[in-house]
Each structure stands twice: as C-alpha cells, then as structure tokens.
C-alpha cells in the first residue's frame, strides 16, 4: 500500500504535485463550498485511475494538523486490495433504512473484507441507515464511517462517490481481498451530568419532550448566552441515552437541527420514547484521552500489522469544545500509532463504528472514530 497526501487551499490550489498517479483511490475531504465539480475534475485528472470517495466536513485532518476551508486528498495505491464503490440517494430521514439496505445490496459480497460508509449528515437517521446496511451485509463484515459535515453551519452536507458531490445521499466503499487488515476504535470522553430525564415524546430521531417539558427549552436554559448559536451550541451538551437500569450501556446522541416552529430537536440517531436521557458535557482531558484510547483500540484490532493509514472521523462537537487545542486529539492518535502511519480524516456530524472490535455496529456521536488499514 502506497499513500500520498496533498491539500488544496483557496488562492493557492494544490500544494503538492501528484506523484502516485496510478493510485486506485483518493479519499477527499473538504469545506462544503470548496468541493466544486471543477476541483473534483481537476483532482481526477491528477489521479486518472482513482475512485474518488469523500465528502464535506466540519474540518479536515491532514497528518497531525486540523484545517478549515481546505481540501485534503489522500491518494492510495493498493497492492492487492480491490475496491467497489456504490451510492444511493436518501431523500429524507424516513428513507434511511431502505437506503442502507439498497446500498449494501449494490456491493458484491464475495471477498468483501470491510465497508467504509459516508452519508450526508443532515436529514438522515444514522441509526436507521446503519441498521439497514447491517441487515444486508454479509455476517462478519464490519462497517465504519461517518456523517459528513458543514462546519458549524448545519446547512448543506455533501458526499462524493466517484462523481459530482451529492447533497442527499449515502456512499459505500467496499474493500475486497485477503491481504487487507482493518482495525477500528471509537471513544467519546464526555461526562454525564445532572438528572436522568425520561424521553416522553419523540419520533425517530426527532425529540420533542423530556419529562413532559420541551427539550428545546431545556437546552436554551442550559446554554444561556450560547442559545443564540443553536443548533451548533447544543453539541456542547450531547445526550447519553440508556434504557431503564442500563445506565452503563449509554449511547451518545448529538443534535443536528432545531425547529422553533414545533419546538423539536433533530438528533443524528434515534431518541426512543421510554429511554432515559442525561446531558453530557465536555471534559478536555478525557476528550484527548478518548482519541488516544480509540487509537489503541484500532491498533489492538490489527494484531501484528502496523497501520499504514488511519482514517480519523471525529465529531464536530469536539472541535467546537477543544477549539485551538483540537490538534491535541490528533496528536494523541499519532503518538499511539506512530509517525509512520498516515493520518487522514474529517470532523463529522456522526460516526459509524462498532463500539469495540467485537460489538455490533452502531451510530455514534461526539466520538473520535478511527479505522486503521494496512496491506500484508
């Protein structure tokens, strides 16, 4: 496996010439407005044989650096691993499950080793999408990926599946062969605080009431002056969901949108009625530790192989909280994986990964999710 990375900056263009011109895959992550058809056509000319796979971000990861308003391209030439790309439109959140199933059905099953999935981050129910995908993928094939982002704007998200950027869709990249090695890890680093609240009214991933009161009002109360920056500021207080008596098996949910008209909040995944929700807040040290922990999990999953590439998909909320210190979490990952592992990735509106190497695949929020790859 050979890898090279380059970056496109406004006014500057691509910072490096293309050398690995016979690369089979280019992972491309960039600011929403920058991912124009022209830029992508230009990128395709530089890597004529490559499949382009990527999307819009809330920040790009290149090495140990984190950037805004750039495009990061990571070109990969696999020695043996074959690739198959598929995409599927998702007109609205209700179509998420069906879209996941349809997408998985498009991927040939034979020799399928792993699936990377990217979906537009708004108007998609990530939980349903992942369930749909899992239901149609062969047993034992893992799924990692994320929801693409749009800075802290939450207006327009894109996916790229070897074609022009798509605004309401999901893309999957199948990795085939026996020499590819995959590891993955996923950790949060948020601490729950305050009381457990019963979800008394919700529909799918739309939350209306907690303990019989407007959830949006509650967020506004807690956000104080930050309420003006909704929905982005709601990411500062994600929800830990758990069933009654199962507080240890909490799943984190991040806010994607708010609707003042019907006082609702849309989350990146299901917020089922009858479950309990607890607000969470950031803990700087634990966020950075969480990223390192995710790297350790991913590395552990690789057994003897040293990861050559690490795809980092980290939640936009972490970036909002850590701000100028955001690179500390990427540095934490690099410290675990070593200088020789190429780091690429983006800040997302949701992460997809099994929580641990053996657990079932879930949609996560507010985590650092890492997929490590190498070829024997």
């Amino acid at each position: 496996m050979q890898i090279e990375q380059t970056q496109w900056l406004p006014g500057t263009g691509w910072t490096k010439p293309a050398v690995l011109t016979d690369a089979g895959l280019v992972l491309v992550f960039g600011g929403t407005d920058l991912l124009t058809e022209d830029v992508l056509a230009d990128l395709q000319r530089r890597y004529p044989r490559a499949l382009l796979f990527g999307g819009s971000t809330a920040g790009e990861i290149l090495g140990a650096g984190v950037y805004d308003d750039s495009i990061v391209a990571t070109a990969i030439r696999f020695a043996d691993t074959r690739l198959h790309i598929a995409s599927q439109p998702v007109p609205d959140a209700a179509a998420s499950h069906a879209a996941g199933q349809a997408l998985a059905a498009r991927l040939p099953r034979e020799d399928l080793a792993h699936v990377l999935v990217l979906t537009t981050g708004l108007d998609v129910n990530g939980t349903e999408l992942v369930d749909g995908l899992k239901s149609a993928l062969p047993e034992g094939v893992d799924l990692t990926g994320g929801l693409t982002g749009d800075g802290a704007r939450f207006q327009r998200t894109l996916v790229i599946a070897d074609g022009p950027p798509v605004e309401h869709g999901v893309a999957a990249l199948g990795l085939y062969g026996s020499r590819i090695r995959i590891g993955h890890g996923c950790l949060g680093g948020w601490d729950p605080f305050g009381p457990d609240r019963l979800i008394t009214r919700s529909r799918g991933n739309v939350l209306y009431e907690l303990d019989g009161h407007s959830a949006l009002d509650l967020y506004k109360q807690y956000l104080g002056e930050h309420a003006a920056q909704l929905p982005a500021s709601a990411l500062l207080f994600p929800l830990a969901l758990h069933r009654e008596g199962e507080a240890d098996a909490a799943l984190v949910r991040a806010v994607l949108a708010v609707n003042e008209a019907d006082q609702s909040m849309t989350f990146a995944g299901d917020v089922p009625e009858g479950q309990y929700a607890r607000m969470m807040r950031a803990n700087f040290d634990r966020l950075v530790e969480g990223a390192s922990g995710a790297a350790r999990q991913a590395r552990f999953g690789m057994a003897e192989s040293r990861p050559q590439l690490a795809l980092l998909i980290s939640c936009v909320a972490r970036k909002l909280v850590l701000a100028q210190r955001i690179e500390e979490e990427v540095e934490g990952v690099r410290d675990v994986l070593g200088e020789e592992t190429v780091l690429a990735g983006f800040y997302s509106y949701g992460e997809i990964s099994p929580y641990t190497p053996t657990a079932r695949c879930e949609l996560h929020n507010q985590t650092m999710t890492i997929t490590t790859l190498s070829e024997d």
Partner: protein, 357 residues
Amino acid sequence: MHPLLERQIRRHLGDATAIPEAMHALFQAIGEAYEHADADRRLVEHALDQMSRELTERNRELQRQLVEKQRTEAEQAALIKRLEEAHNQLLQSEKMASIGQLAAGVAHEINNPIGYVNSNLASLRDYVRQMLAVLDAYERAEPLLPDGGEREDVLAAKRAAELDYLKADVVALLDESSDGIARVRRIVQDLKDFSHADRGEWVLADLHKGLDSTLNVVNNEIKYKARVEKLYGDLPMVRCLPSQLNQVFMNLLVNAAHAIDKQGVITVRTGVEGDDVWVEVADTGCGIPEALLTRIFDPFFTTKPVGKGTGLGLSISYGIVHKHGGHIEVKSEPGRGTVFRVNLPLHSSVDEDADHE
C-alpha cells in the same frame, strides 16, 4: 482584544503598538483562546447553576411526593384498620344475631309450656285450697267418730302422712313453683329483650332496663365472683340501638367478673352529666397495667388465656359506642380495680340511616 491580554501586553511590553507585525496573528490567537476559555467557563458556571437549581427543585418535588406518599399510606392504614374493625363488628353482630335468633326461638318455645304450667299451677292452688278446706271440714268432724276402730285408722293414716306438715308444705310448694315459673318467665323475657327486640332499630330506650336484663343474662358468670351493687341515677330515655348497647354492658360486666380473682364487688352506676348520660361499670379486680391501657381497644388484644377471650369484646364495644356518638373512658389502678365509663350523648347527631347494618 481580551482585556486580560491587553493588560498583560501593557505590563510586559508597555504598549500594543510595540508588538511586531509578525506577532499580530499570534496575539490574536492568544486573545481568541482567552475568550474561548472565558465562554467555556461561563457555560460551565451557567450549566452548574441551572443544574443545581433543577436538582433542588427535583429534590423538593421528591420530598413533597414522599410526604404525600406517607400521608396516603397513613390514610390507607387507617382505612384498613377501620375496614378490619367493621369486619370484626360485622362478624360479631352476625354471631350475636344468630344467638339472638336462637334465644328468641327458645324463649318462644319455652313461653308456651310455661304459660300452661303457670295457669295449671293457679288452678292447682285453687283446687288444693278447696281440698284443704274440705279436709279441714272432715277434721272438724273427726271427734264425732266413735273411739277405736274407724277413728284409730284415720288418726294412724294422718300420722303416717304427716298431714299437718303436708298441709303447710303443699302451699309452700305451690308458692315456690309459682316463684320459679315467674323467674323463668322473667329470664325468657330478658333473653328476648337482650337478643333482638329491636333488630338494629334506633329507638328511645330505658338503659336501666337494658342493664337489668343484661345482668340477668350474665348472672351465671358473675354470681360466684362478685356481688353486684346497682347505684342507678335518674336517666331519661335515650335514643339508641338497645341490643347493641346491651352487648357493650355485657362485655363490661363479663370483663369485670373475669378481673376479679376470688370475691369482689361490681358496681354499676348511671347518671347524667351535661348533655351526656353515663354508665359506669366498676370492679374491685386486678386492674390493668398502664402500658396496656392504650391497647385494650385494639382488635384481638386480650390478656385472657388462649380460648377464653377473643380480644374483640372491647374493640366492638368501642365501635358501638362510637357509632352512638359517644365514647368510653377507662381508669384503672393495678391491684385495686378498673372503672369503665360509657358516655352517650342525649341528643345524638349520628346519622342513623347510615348505621343500619
């Protein structure tokens, strides 16, 4: 620029203009980091404040719920207790009703033979009186008989029969029998009175009459233990359920007798005080220890040996008196005796209809 950074620059560099052009971006980043940290701190402080307010509110709510729950539980407990008492009372009145019915039946059956025995006795007394008159006439004619022979025979027969004694005793026997019959009739009447002359009807009744018939019914329990002293005052008629009050009097009298170990006195007093009438049953028995005084009205509480008392008597009495709008007081001195006093209002305000059970 963040005020802290501004101060720091003033202190360490003298003037913001002293910052070299190349460092402007750095200072701006430092300023932004300060502002971000400030915003973060304000958010945490605000959230902490909100949470503390919310938790305090929830805590209050929980406390309120707890108090409410305790109140409901106490109400439930009271309700259960009342239900239990009502149940026991029902059981007891069922029992009393059957006994009453039985007694009334027996009384009715006895009444009939007693009636004709009584009337026969009256006729018999008349016949005997006449026969004695005839006999007297014969005796007066006795000296007319010649000596020896017939006369000796008559005299011998009179001696053998102890005729003088017979003549005196036959009258005494008839008097005693009449007394006996009268007593049986009174007992039968008392039984009828005691049992269910009223059948749960509220009537104006003479409590003294009730006390007397009850004393007669329980006479057997009392007579070997105690002498009964009746100190009745002047009582007006009282609106009540007489058979139920009789039950109260019976319980108090039997308890009094049981409290007396060998020989004692049971004093029954009555009187009027203000708007109440009262009936006191005092005994010279063993008394009740103070610790138990609060429990004696509890259902199933008894100090009597197993099988001797149900522990229901006083609780039922309490219930009955309560139903009449009255109350029972008890004073006791261990070793000296106990006084139970039943107070009943003369002008009862209880809803009589509600108590037709």
